[in-house]
């Protein structure tokens, strides 16, 4: 395996788009490589290229979750989403940019079942299989649940992300997979996340239900943000992508084994809104 270490973004731009996989903290990529879910002969080390500092509302995509969690200037919902994610060891390694791009924990996908639609197959094995951790909304094509606490917080905060090619709302980083296009992000080959811009809020919270007290992906995570009289809510663990709650949960289509998630989501949303004051 080959490791490229471009010393500048210009050098990176010279690397053929889509050649190799970007490596930052490695907490997601290394297990995926080991399980054969990412197949590449080339790793591109971007740890030295992606900004990692936190300045005002701008958070380098290379900042570790541990650094974001510890910075008092960062809105509470995002700090709390970091604190409740993974373990201290993983948060010390994993970058916030990498966290946004992590793949689903759906076991059928993680175990490489070729029939899985996210692997290009023609069915969702979870829908009529084992699916207690899966989606309750937008789950008809693929029932996977998006695992990122941080993404839900950033979507609720209305954050934008600056990549090597464009600026876009974090929300638009994600797309629901379709028959024609199975991807869950809108990133183009070779496009790299650089900086997040997280506008301040009057109040924000993140609440999370998980299977144990720490080191679990969310069964349901709820981020709520208030600016003046306006509140925004986004959820993790309920759809194949981070989910902005614009009343769509009322039209949810839970699977037999995920109905409890809807109950959890309703309670956590209610509690989160109450906490916003």
């Amino acid at each position: 395996m080959e490791l490229l270490r471009p010393s500048s973004l210009d050098e990176l731009a010279a690397v053929e788009p889509g050649r190799g996989a970007f490596l930052a903290g490695g907490t997601e990529l290394v297990p995926l490589l080991r399980d054969g879910l990412v197949e590449t002969e080339t790793l591109v080390d971007v740890a030295g290229l992606v900004p990692a500092g936190i300045e005002g509302t701008r958070i380098g995509a290379g900042a570790t979750l541990a650094a974001v969690e510890a910075d008092a200037r960062v809105p509470d919902a995002l700090r709390e989403a970091c604190r409740l994610a993974a373990s201290p060891q993983l948060r010390a390694m994993g970058s916030i940019g990498g966290n946004l791009l992590q793949a689903t924990r759906c076991w059928y996908w993680r175990l490489g079942y070729r029939q899985c639609r996210l692997h290009g197959g023609d069915r969702c094995l979870a829908a009529d299989g084992e699916h207690r951790e899966h989606a309750v909304v937008a789950n008809d094509f693929c029932a996977s649940a998006h695992p990122s606490d941080v993404a839900a917080a950033l979507v609720a905060l209305g954050a934008t992300v600056c990549t090597t090619r464009r600026d876009l709302p974090v929300r638009d980083l994600y797309r629901l997979p379709t028959e024609e296009d199975r991807r869950t992000t809108t990133l183009e080959p070779g496009e790299l996340l650089l900086v997040l811009d997280v506008p301040p809020a009057d109040a924000s919270v993140y609440l999370k239900a998980m299977d144990r007290k720490r080191w679990s992906f969310p069964l349901v995570g709820v981020a709520a943000v208030r600016r003046g009289d306006e509140t925004t809510v986004a959820l993790a663990g309920v759809a194949p992508v981070p989910w902005l709650d614009d009343g769509s949960l009322d039209a949810a289509t839970p699977l037999p084994g995920t109905a409890y998630k809807l109950e959890l989501a309703r309670v956590l949303v209610e509690r989160a809104l109450a906490k916003l004051g």
């Binding site: 076991w107 993680r110 084992e130 144990r212 409890y260 959890l264």
Partner: protein, 736 residues
């Protein structure tokens, strides 16, 4: 003086009668209570070695020229290998040898579960071996798997004839009852997940096959490897110096052991076969799921008149139909009991013993049922248990060698009395409650086990016994017993274990029997050495030697060393040796989110004499933490159509983290069993995990009124039970 006796030998409920060589056990027990060394909290002798990474586990061993094996396993729950070609794998870079079905024990074409071993290759590196596996050409014939335990019972797919146990008449007992409760309980499949995965290195030295392995039974591996390979047992040397946990999954050799052995003999080079975590999650054993359809009847004063159980053990493709009915048969004085246990044979990975196999599952059902009965009777759950205390084996059986369960109940009172205060700390959304559950288990150990001790003029001793310390700290226990007998500091005793070439036979570390089986042999060996020293000293000092300091007497030895030998004496005839206990759990339940938090567990256990209170309390803590995982978060999930395991990593299979661990209060009765050998000590490895699930479930019921009858108590199970309880309350209100 050695003699041959006929004795009952019991391991985890399996009893056999055997002839055994034992010495007279003429030593009087020490008086109860802490002694100079025994009974005082003592840190592990190898704690620093473990913490510093100096302890050599099997994975730390590297031999020149060592090869690495990888095992081809069935991806299917049920399949037959129609065609297999190892040639492409043999041609792959670094590959030195390969074995296929029939060439090593455990390798087969007929795969009755996912993870069944088919073939193996060894190469210069593990990566090469893995890469070569992908090149093995296999044609599978996939077959329809049988996955549902009730369906297996209905179709007669059983490991053995249904096991029936009966005393009195269940029907009569139910007819005599004022109150009858019936309920169905379910427990899930959980995985051992010892920190150290199953692994073995084999190498051939001259005509001896050396087996370095992570095992709970050095001598069992020696016997079975020798027999499988047709070697005389003394040509197999088994070494297990340090071990990173087993919990019952390492009671004997398995496919990795045999693969390493066969490939080492074939290549003439050392071969390591180490399971990955993902293999461990599939192919290394589990605590099987159960279905328990139970009934209990009692008079209005709480006297049990009837207990009945139809149990289904979802054992898997092979394994052992564990004694899930044990608690129902053994815990209470009830004249009418009938149990039937089915061992369902399924196309799922085989169950293996797992810390109190059967009793963990059976106690969950029985002790929850008892609390449901107590609620119907409007009787205090602790009082209900007291009223049905068995003073001897239920049904007029044998007397107990000792039983301090009543004392456990007495000591539980202050913890039980906290429930008003605990409940009072409930809020609108977080309800608190307290629950308890009792426990019965084996743990008396038995012969045979042997120990040697070597004492020199420096007044330092080495205990030699080819037992294994599976990570419990039992080496330190042995050192304490020897130090106490010899009257020397425990730091002056070294314990050498884990080498079948260099020590005498010692039993397997299972059934909470290591301390109770081996420590008496160590004491006997120390006493034998002391006797020899005193005899010699009499030649020099006359008859008053017993008054003199041992160090002074030993100085006579010069370069000579005294060798003492000892064996485990027989168990008391005509008596039943058991351990008992009770745990009191405090929980908080968020009734809107279904989040369960265990806030405190008080564990009160009777295991006879406690040799090392520090080691014992860490066993209690470990058992409770593992029990909390079993109760709340752990579950091996399989695809219901394919029978393939879905939870193959430690993020998907959820063991408790330190944040899930409550305050744990340990109290040990510490009353030596007067009938049990020269120490009166029983084992504590398994008892602490047994009552955890029921105590927590009963606390949840106390807090919320919800009946949780299915493990694990996840958010969905808790929310379901809460909704059911609300429905019931509404129904009751409507009826009024």
């Amino acid at each position: 003086m050695a003699r041959l006796i006929r004795s009952e030998k019991e391991v985890e409920g399996r009893v056999e009668e055997v002839w055994l060589v034992v010495d007279e056990d003429a030593l009087d027990q020490w008086p109860a209570g802490p002694r100079t060394v025994v009974g005082r909290p003592t840190a592990r002798q190898d704690a620093y070695a473990r913490a510093r990474g100096e302890a050599r586990f099997t994975a730390d061993l590297h031999f020149p020229g060592m090869l690495h094996a990888a095992v081809l396993r069935s991806p299917f729950a049920r399949a037959r290998v129609v065609r297999l070609d190892l040639a492409p794998a043999l041609a792959a870079p670094g590959v030195r040898a390969a074995v296929g079905p029939g060439e090593a024990p455990g390798l087969s074409r007929e795969c009755e579960h996912q993870g069944a071993a088919v073939a193996a290759v060894c190469a210069d590196t593990f990566q090469q071996a893995r890469a070569a596996l992908a090149r093995v050409e296999v044609t599978w014939e996939e077959l329809e798997p049988l996955l549902d335990p009730d369906e297996a019972v209905a179709r007669g797919s059983l490991l053995e004839e249904p096991r029936r146990r009966e005393r009195g008449s269940l029907e009569r007992g139910l007819a005599e009852a004022d109150v009858v409760v019936e309920a169905t309980y379910r427990t899930q499949t959980v995985l051992h997940n010892a920190l150290e995965t199953h692994q073995t290195i084999c190498r051939v030295e001259g005509d001896v096959l050396e087996v370095y392995t992570s095992t709970q039974y050095v001598w069992g591996v020696r016997a079975r490897v020798a027999s499988a390979l047709g070697l005389p047992p003394d040509k197999v040397r088994v070494v297990c110096e340090y071990m990173g946990g087993g919990f019952g999954a390492k009671n004997g050799p398995d496919d990795a052991t045999f693969v390493a052995a066969v490939l080492a003999r074939r290549t003439g080079r050392p071969v390591r076969c180490m399971l990955t975590r993902r293999e461990e999650m599939v192919a290394a054993g589990n605590r099987n799921a159960t279905i328990q359809r139970l009934v209990a009847g009692a008079r209005s004063d709480g006297t049990l008149t009837a207990l009945g159980g139809e149990y289904v053990n979802a054992v898997g493709a092979s394994g052992w139909n564990a004694m899930i009915e044990g608690p129902m048969l053994m815990l209470y004085e009830c004249p009418n009991v009938r149990t039937t246990t089915y061992g369902a044979k399924l196309n799922l990975p085989p169950a293996r013993a797992f810390r109190a196999p059967g009793f963990v599952e059976g106690t969950f059902g029985l002790e929850c049922l008892l609390d449901e009965l107590a609620a119907r009777l409007e009787l205090d759950p602790l009082e209900l248990r007291r009223r049905n205390h068995a003073d001897r084996e239920p049904g007029g059986g044998k007397p107990y060698s000792s039983k301090e369960l009543a004392e456990c109940y007495r000591r539980a009172e202050p913890h039980w009395a906290r429930r008003d205060e605990v409940r009072a700390r409930s809020t609108a959304t977080v309800k608190r409650g307290v629950g308890l559950a009792s426990q019965v288990w084996f743990g008396g150990g038995g012969p045979p086990s042997y120990a040697w001790i070597r004492v020199g003029s420096d007044a330092r001793a080495t205990v030699v016994t080819a037992m294994q310390d599976v990570g419990t700290g039992t080496k330190t226990t042995m050192a304490m017993v020897a130090a106490e007998e010899l009257g020397i500091p425990v730091e002056h005793v070294t314990v050498a274990v884990g080498d079948s070439l260099r020590g005498p036979y010692a039993t397997l570390s299972a059934g909470s029997s290591t301390t109770s089986s081996i420590a008496p042999a160590v004491r006997a060996a120390a006493a034998d050495a002391k006797r020899q020293i005193l005899d010699m000293a009499r030649d020099r000092y006359g008859e008053d030697v017993a008054e003199l300091d041992l160090a002074e007497l030993l100085s006579l030895l010069g370069d000579a060393q005294i060798l003492g030998t000892g064996s485990r004496g027989p168990n008391p005839a005509g008596m039943t040796v058991l351990t008992f206990g009770v745990q009191v759990a405090e929980v908080a339940v968020d009734v809107e989110t279904g989040e369960v938090t265990v806030e405190r567990i008080a564990a009160i256990h009777d295991v006879g004499r406690v040799i090392n209170p520090l080691g014992a309390s860490s066993q209690v803590e470990g058992g409770i933490v593992q029990g909390i995982g079993h109760t709340l978060s752990e579950e091996r999930l399989v695809d219901p159509r394919l029978g393939q395991v879905l939870t193959t990593t430690l993020d998907a299979y959820r063991m408790p983290t330190i944040a899930d661990v409550p305050e744990i209060v340990t109290e040990l009765v510490d009353a030596p069993d007067p009938q049990l050998g020269n120490l009166g000590a029983k084992g504590i490895g398994e008892p602490p995990i047994i009552p955890v699930a029921a105590a927590i479930a009963n606390a949840i019921r106390d807090a919320t009124g919800a009946d949780v009858r299915s493990l694990p108590i996840t958010r969905e199970e808790m929310l379901r039970a809460l909704a059911e309880a609300r429905e019931r309350t509404r129904g009751a209100a409507a009826a009024v």
